[in-house]
């Protein structure tokens, strides 16, 4: 897949990192402000998709990235499950029990496990969307050959 014109490339250079940071902000503040794992994960995937669309890349590199994001996705969903299972061991024996201390309201570190769940779901959604996009791009590239 070849990239786009120099205007798109330069603007993507400047903005992709900031968009990624904004996604992280949405994820980590999911229990305080609107947003959360789903929205933030989609924003992270959007910034990665922007980079791929603007710069383009050859099939080999894309395949490597696809393998990486696929591994990330599996690891994130495994982490989500482990966090939920850990409640059985650490808490009152209830699946999905909020076993960490709640902390104070309106603080960033509060609400027990919910921020960790948010981060896991964010990684999972981002990696899933990026993998789907990369699979479609690789299919298209291989079809051309």
């Amino acid at each position: 897949m070849q990239g786009m014109s120099i205007i798109v490339k330069k603007v993507a250079q400047l903005l992709s990192g900031l968009i990624f940071m904004y996604g992280i902000y949405i994820i980590t503040h999911g229990h305080l402000t609107p947003g959360g794992g789903f929205a933030g994960g989609a924003i992270l995937a959007g910034s990665l998709i922007l980079l791929v669309l603007a710069f383009g890349s050859d099939v080999m590199r894309l395949q490597k990235r696809e393998a990486g994001s696929s591994i990330m996705e599996s690891a994130a969903i495994l982490g989500f499950l482990l966090l939920a299972v850990a409640a059985i061991i650490a808490g009152a024996g209830i699946f999905f029990y909020n076993y960490l201390p709640k902390g104070q309201l309106f603080h960033l570190v509060s609400a027990g496990v919910i921020p960790l769940y948010n981060i896991m779901v964010g990684i999972e959604v981002a990696a899933a969307l990026f993998t789907i996009f990369l699979a479609l791009v690789i299919y298209k590239e291989e079809l051309k050959q």
């Binding site: 959360g36 989609a42 989500f80 999905f96 996009f133 291989e142």
Partner: protein, 186 residues
């Protein structure tokens, strides 16, 4: 409030009808964008900012995938379509009466079922869900989360989120399997 929502919904319905009847797939996708972003405005008016954020990003990514990947390789499909429709003109007329009959019958059945179902709905703006009280009163104290939607999503209803994550995982595996052209070892 109700009037604004109705107007936006009417625009969405018009956009949807145009999207289904557009000759060009690209204009169909742009009209689909009208419906999706109209939904974002409806969510904002209905005081659901979480949903608005998710919907606007998801809609954008869907449009990007459709335009950049699907349409890019299949644009020439559109030119064949007009010719086919021209041939089928006389063929359609003989069946037209039957089709209209079926459509009217289906519409009547669906509207009857809507009447039956809407008798159990409360008026717009009145709260009629029984479960909601338990999720709202003192929910911030129970979960520690200021955003009540996140609290419901990850604490009260964690199983649903787990199921959603599983569906997403399955969809990714399915996409990877369907689109694999060459095996790893060939």
């Amino acid at each position: 409030m109700e009037i604004i929502l109705s107007v936006i919904l009417i625009f969405m319905i018009l956009g949807a009808i145009f999207a289904l009847h557009a000759k060009d797939l690209l204009s169909a996708l742009v009209s689909m964008g009208i419906v999706g972003y109209g939904l974002v405005i409806c969510f904002l008016l209905l005081k659901a900012p979480d949903l608005a954020i998710v919907q606007i990003v998801v809609e954008t990514i869907t449009l990007i995938i459709m335009v950049a990947i699907v349409l890019d390789s299949t644009r020439h499909e559109l030119k064949e379509k007009a010719a086919i429709r021209h041939d089928g003109q006389s063929f359609m007329n003989t069946r037209l009466v039957g089709n209209i009959f079926i459509a009217v019958f289906l519409g009547l059945v669906l509207f009857y079922s809507f009447r039956l179902a809407s008798a159990h709905l409360t008026e717009f703006g009145e709260h009629g869900l029984r479960m909601a009280g338990a999720y709202m009163e003192g929910a911030a104290g129970k979960t520690g989360s200021v955003n009540l939607v996140t609290g419901v999503l990850f604490d009260f209803r964690g199983y649903d989120t787990l199921g959603e994550a599983t569906i997403l995982f399955t969809a990714v595996v399915g996409v990877l399997t369907v689109l694999r052209l060459k095996g790893k070892h060939s």
